[in-house]
């Protein structure tokens, strides 16, 4: 019964989305005061409630393990812990799509409920666009991915007890990214709405900005967490592989970062109108392209999951409709959106334009690199594009952008001169130069990491300089947000540069009892023994490690073999200190390189190798890294997101205050005559 309730709620929500679209279009074209137009906001609000009901029923079905529902039977199991039963609701294609439309409907309902700052016609067009985007996903869900489909007869037990998928990170990752993507869909709807009514105003930017900020915070966290996941799970010691799935999450982030900054210019100075609209369209396009690349499986990736070409086709159709439609609308309207305010090249706006151009260029580079294999494959040539392309080419644009990032926030709006900020700029340059020379002299490291470390110092100093001479207690939260985010960039950059400059790597074949030196660490292989898990067996190494002259600690890297599905994974062992991480991986038994010379020993090892037992004299492949300051990469990512959160809270508090003040004024005006009339007593 409860599954049917969810399905009914979903159908009703879809019908309301259709109503919202039609009424919104009618209201936009014939004026906001019609009877139809009055239906748009209630439709959006009720739709949000219905979606919430549908999603809640799915959660209940998973919590109860109702095996008569196909989705539950395929993806859950009565013996799972309750937490993973519930998170399992969105750990699959259908559930995640339902989560997507639910978050989207909640966002639409929230706008409909509270947003009154824009002209009503723009709001109607925005909500119509939101309904149009939503309808595509409803069609997708109801036509080909019904999460509430029944399974007759119900199986006695569910099929989803894969312990690999019982991971809290895996449970939290999709909602994080989806919230980011959906936030960008709201920005997209606002952009389309503003374009339809030609009302690209600072007010529009102010209304859109919290949604972009929110999306951007979630995307930042998603990328940071995804990068750390790849770092510890894949066992290659790298934290970014320019893999298609990683790029799919990076591209919307780059576009959202650019959009965030251009929306700030539009909000503050009424400039960059068309550019902001374009970025609004591009940011959502990148989320859709990202989803498409991940789900359709047309690119080969180390993270290939949930791949299905049929679903890919559906997403492609949606992609073409939304993005193609928005771009055509934009091209038709381009001449009629008035150009915004002018500004001098040396000004806050000028610095933000540099930021935007650089981010867009990097976005183009990443997009090209990601799609290039697809393009050549169409002509029958297989290539793969990797770090040798991405690293230097994106650095060309990132490095100047970081210079501007250090200096830009010091500039004033509209018009400024370098003469005014010579002091701070000289200080930043001096510190960067000092770091460059100092680090360059004490450690002979490569050019790019050296520049990275110097720039990190410059950005760190530059990011806190806007605090100079201001009362810290009265500083608005959004400014704090900017400072914290920019400082986070410096922290992350330092982590990246330090890791590539100072990391020590040793690949050794070690006997039990042998001690290996890696950087300041001495590492003793104490023992290697087989261990068995629920559906895997593993080689487990016990390493006694010691930092400099410190106490000895134990870490246990494993090489696991899963049987169903058959898969080898490495469980890297990490030891985190404040100044970096020790990263240890065991590969397996080393093939002996000189069997003739050590005949007796080789014979002892024979036969036992597959079982992983090995003889006492066997040698084991160990891969050991000392990665100074690598953790700063993720600390930086968290700081960047924290800055975004501060700015968002500041903006929302500001909006609420302004709204209550306006309401008070309105109430006072309405109240005044009777109040005055009653006062003489």
């Amino acid at each position: 019964m409860i599954a049917e309730l969810g399905l009914a709620a979903l159908w009703l929500a879809a019908a309301l989305a259709a109503l919202q679209l039609l009424a919104g279009v009618a209201g936009t074209s014939s004026g906001a005061a019609t009877a139809l137009a009055a239906l748009v906001r209630p439709a959006a609000i009720v739709q949000a409630v219905l979606c919430a009901i549908a999603f809640a029923t799915l959660l209940v079905l998973f919590a109860r393990t109702d095996l008569s529902v196909a989705l539950v039977a395929n993806n859950s199991h009565s013996a799972k812990p309750l937490l993973y039963k519930i998170t399992g609701a969105w750990g699959n294609h259908e559930g995640s799509m339902l989560l997507w439309v639910t978050v989207m409907a909640l966002a639409g309902g929230l706008i409909a409920l509270i947003e009154r700052r824009l002209p009503e016609r723009t709001m109607l067009a925005t909500l119509a666009a939101q309904a149009f985007v939503g309808l595509g996903f409803y069609a997708f869900l109801l036509a080909s991915s019904n999460p509430f489909a029944r399974l007759v007869p119900a199986p006695p037990e569910g099929a989803g007890l894969n312990p690999l998928l019982q991971d809290i990170g895996l449970a939290a990752h999709p909602p994080t990214l989806y919230t980011g993507y959906v936030g960008l869909s709201v920005a997209f709807s606002f952009a389309v709405g503003a374009l339809v009514t030609r009302q690209v105003t600072p007010e529009f930017a102010r209304v859109m900005r919290p949604w972009v900020l929110g999306a951007w915070i979630f995307l930042t966290l998603g990328i940071t967490a995804g990068s750390y996941w790849a770092y510890y799970e894949l066992g290659w010691g790298g934290w970014w592989f320019w893999d298609p799935v990683e790029n799919a999450s990076l591209m919307p982030w780059l576009a959202a970062t650019a959009l965030l900054h251009s929306a700030s210019v539009l909000a503050a100075r009424d400039a960059l109108r068309t550019w902001t609209i374009l970025l609004g369209v591009v940011a959502f396009s990148m989320s859709m392209i990202g989803t498409f690349l991940v789900r359709s499986g047309i690119l080969t990736s180390v993270h290939a999951f949930a791949v299905d070409p049929e679903r890919g086709t559906f997403i492609l159709v949606l992609l073409a409709l939304y993005i193609g439609g928005a771009l055509v609308l934009f091209a038709l309207r381009a001449g009629t959106v008035a150009e915004g305010e002018r500004f001098a090249a040396i000004s806050r706006e000028g610095a933000l334009v540099v930021n935007n151009v650089a981010l867009s260029a990097v976005l183009g580079i990443v997009l090209l690199g990601t799609l290039y294999p697809l393009l050549t494959e169409a002509f029958g040539v297989r290539v793969s594009v990797g770090p040798p392309y991405f690293n230097p080419v994106s650095a060309i644009f990132f490095l100047p952008m970081l210079v501007v990032l250090a200096v830009g926030p010091l500039l004033r709006w509209r018009r400024d001169s370098f003469g005014r900020i010579t002091g701070p700029v000289a200080a930043i340059a001096a510190i960067a130069l000092a770091v460059l020379v100092f680090v360059g002299l004490i450690a002979g490291i490569a050019v790019l990491p050296l520049i990275g470390i110097a720039l990190a110092a410059a950005v760190a100093v530059g990011s806190v300089l806007p605090l100079r001479g201001r009362s810290l207690r009265r500083l608005p939260l959004p400014v704090w947000g900017m400072v914290v985010s920019h400082f986070g960039v410096a922290v992350a950059l330092f982590g990246m540069a330090a890791d590539s400059a100072f990391q020590t790597e040793r690949l050794v074949a070690a006997r039990v009892g042998e001690t290996i030196a890696v950087g300041p660490w001495s590492i003793m292989l104490a023992s290697v023994h087989p261990v068995a898990g629920p559906n895997w067996t593993a080689l487990s190494a016990d390493l006694q490690v010691r930092y400099a002259a410190g106490a000895s600690e134990s870490i246990v890297p494993q090489a696991r073999s899963f049987w169903a599905p058959q898969q080898q994974t490495t469980e890297a062992a990490l030891l985190t200190r404040w100044n970096g991480q020790l990263y240890a991986v065991i590969g397996g038994e080393a093939p002996s390189e000189a069997p003739a010379g050590v005949g007796g020993e080789a014979a002892a090892g024979a036969g036992g190798e597959v079982a992983g037992g090995g003889a006492g004299a066997a040698r084991w492949q160990l891969r050991l890294w000392w990665k100074p300051f690598v953790t700063f990469i993720w600390y930086g990512g968290v700081l960047i997101a924290l800055g975004g959160a501060l700015a968002l809270v500041g903006r929302v508090i500001g909006d609420v205050r302004r709204r209550t003040r306006r309401q008070l004024v309105a109430e006072r005006r309405a109240d005044t005559p009777p109040h005055l009339a009653g006062s003489p007593t």
């Binding site: 498409f292 359709s296 047309i298 193609g324 093939p591 069997p595 036969g607």
Partner: protein
Amino acid sequence: MIRLRVVLWVLVALAAALFALFALQLSRPKDDFVRSALIGKKVPAFALEPATDGRPGLSSADLADGRPKLLNVFASWCVPCAVEAPQLGALERQGVEIVAVAIRDRPESVDGFLAAYGNPFSRIGADPISEVQLALGSSGVPETFVVDGRGIIRHQHLGEIRDSDVPILLEKLREAGE
């Protein structure tokens, strides 16, 4: 303004081209594995020393003796190779001739592996530096090739042979024998 409009129409055209490319790629069947480029071609010439005392070595001439056979690329240190051993045994019992290349291995280990998991191979060549493996276009162990009587590679099986793969390989061998 006119320039902006031109830029936007170029963007529309680029997006259209991108969508067309996506559609084209979606409509094509997708290989999940890297297939050998040598399928339909002759096995490259090689001659390998025996990997164990019990069996002769393997050369490309042995693969062109008129009878179709399976060429198994394995190693004693490879866990999935042990997993597929019963299936290889079953194929041998059905009269299939199986030859093998042992990758980066030593005789004692190969002997131990064959003692533990059975020996379905009529010939085993030792490939200590993976040269023949790479020449065959094989990217890992285990892999199994169907080679026809003239020494032409007809089929490549990636990963371990499971029960469900046995009839497929028999069918491919039958086709290779025609």
